[in-house]
Structure formats: structure tokens, C-alpha cells
Symmetry: C2
Subunit: 180 residues, 2 copies
């Protein structure tokens, strides 16, 4: 289970990322994390104050990772309209890669209440970031069209999770074509 190639802090974060994402936050215990990370109990609490702190680190890590992958993926093309189409192809590739586990941020959102302001804010910021990123591809179009694309993108991601199938993304791509 131990992969001593990387340092303990990284192993903890990567393990927590995988488990929080695939099992959920409350369904994942500290014991499982330290066990699968091959790390001492005390080491986890040296690097992260609490389970919630670890969740925050997970969301921040995931945020950076997701946008890095996203930008790389859509950066392969230059034409704006083609770039939007590629954005939906990105969803397809992520569904394949991560077995239709959906959006890590929306999954955590389902487990928390608005009283968890730190987590709630991180999730909102991530999505606002995505919204801005998509909007920036077609800067001269109406706000309504930008929102339209964003909503289709979101439901494509969430509904393919639900059905464990690419059809929502494929259909969303066709809808996008009618809008551009």
C-alpha cells in the first residue's frame, strides 16, 4: 500500500482526494485514509489540523488539477466555437477516466449545509471560475447565451454521473451546435 516515492503529506492528500471523491466525505474515515496512504496517524494531524482542513485541501487540490486538465485539453484548438465543443469532449474523457463519478465539488455540496461557509464558498468559487472561463471563450455574446452554455455544461457533467452514460454530453454537444 505504501508508495514511498512521494512524501507523506502528498500521499495523504492524494489518498484523501481519491477516497473523498469516490466514497464521499462522511463515508470516508481517517483510519482508511492513513491506512491506504501508508502513513502514521500523527503524521496526518501534523500536516492537517482536522478532517475538515483535509477536505479543504482536497477541494483546492482538485480545483487546480481540474482546471489544469481542462485548459490543456481545450488549448489544443484555437477557434472559439471549436473550443467549446472540445470542452464537452473533455467531459467525455473525464467520465472515462474517472468512471462517471461526476463533479467532486457538487458531490461535496450535497453533503454539507450553508453553515459550512468555508467549504460552501470554495465550491461556489470553483464554479464561478468555470462560469467565467466558459464565458471568456465567447466574450462578445449575450449573457444569456453564456449562461446557457454553462448550464448545459453542468447538466452534461451531472447527468452523465447519474446515468453512468455519455449520452447527456453527446446530446449537449448537439444542443450547443444549434445555439452557436
Amino acid at each position: 500500500m505504501k508508495q514511498k516515492a512521494v512524501d507523506p503529506k502528498t500521499r495523504i492528500l492524494e489518498t484523501a482526494t481519491r477516497l473523498f471523491y469516490t466514497q464521499g466525505y462522511h463515508a470516508t474515515g481517517i483510519n482508511q485514509i492513513i491506512q491506504e496512504a501508508g502513513v502514521a496517524r500523527a503524521s496526518l494531524y501534523t500536516h492537517y489540523q482536522s478532517k475538515e482542513e483535509l477536505c479543504i485541501a482536497f477541494l483546492n487540490f482538485r480545483h487546480v488539477y481540474w482546471f489544469k486538465c481542462f485548459r490543456e485539453f481545450i488549448g489544443a484548438v484555437t477557434d472559439p466555437e471549436q473550443q467549446l465543443m472540445t470542452a464537452f469532449d473533455f467531459l467525455i474523457s473525464m467520465n472515462d477516466k474517472e468512471d462517471f463519478r461526476g463533479c467532486a465539488f457538487m458531490n461535496i455540496l450535497s453533503e454539507i449545509s450553508p453553515a459550512d461557509t468555508t467549504l460552501y464558498t470554495i465550491i461556489q468559487h470553483h464554479k464561478q471560475n468555470l462560469r467565467d472561463t466558459l464565458a471568456s471563450i465567447l466574450p462578445h455574446h449575450t449573457q444569456l447565451l453564456k449562461d446557457h452554455i454553462y448550464l448545459l455544461f453542468e447538466s452534461a457533467m451531472l447527468e452523465s454521473h447519474l446515468y453512468r452514460n455519455q449520452w447527456p454530453v453527446l446530446q449537449a454537444k448537439k444542443m450547443l451546435k444549434t445555439l452557436l
Copy 2:
């Protein structure tokens, strides 16, 4: 806390429904349910075999309740296109009523894995039911348009949960207008 007007089994289900929906499945313990339902521990396990059985009952109960409210709400109008607009108004009223807690089914979906086949199937069936219901309002339109409306409906519900704001629903209504 006890509202002995209804029988224990109903109190358990209604309490579990409220707690699972507002706090999530794994974050809600049996102790809290029996306490807030004002019911004996043994009574819960006479009516429901396990916590998962209770979750199944919750989803089935919610399914019936949600569609009953939905049909009543949109049944107030007869014109198909107007009925679709009213469907989005229903989301607005539910957001107000339930404090932007989003979709009970998608929330549970975030907490489980495809291995939980029973729960997963119930959730998929609920959404397929919604998909069919929306599609039946405009039976003579293309499959693409039906899916389009469904995807907008879904993201309107989920994104208003995220932002705790009605704007996604209001924007989705405008998008719908451009599609009809």
C-alpha cells in the same frame, strides 16, 4: 418534539426524510432520527430493517411527494408551452419552500457508489420518470429538444442549490422561451 397526531412509522419516515434531505444520509444518525421523531429505538427497527431500508423508504416517499406537488403545480395551466414555463416556476417555489436544498435524489447520489444498486436504481428511475413527464408535455417535438429542456430543468435545480439563488431558474426560463 413528539407530535403524536400521526403514528410512529409515519413520524420516523417524515423525520428521516427531513434529516436525510437537509443533512445528508451519512451525516444523519439513527439516534437523531428516533430522538426527533419521538420514537423508541425498537420501534424504528420493527418498521424498517436497517438504515438503508429507511433510506429506500425516504426516496420512495420523496418520489411520490415530489411528483404529486409537481403535477398539481403545472396542472394549473393547460397550454403545453405554458406548462413548461410553469414547471420552472415550480422550481422557484420549491427553492423558497425548501431553502435551496436542491434535489434529494442527486444529493443521495453523491453519497453512494454504483455498487449500491438498489439506491442507484431508484434514483435513476425517479429521473427517468421526470424526463418522460417533461417529454410528454411536447410529444411531437424532437428528442433533442426534449432532452434540451430536461437538461436545463436539471441544471436550474442543481445550480440554484449551489448559488442559493433563483438566477439559474430565471435564466433557464428565458432560454426555454428561445427554444419554443
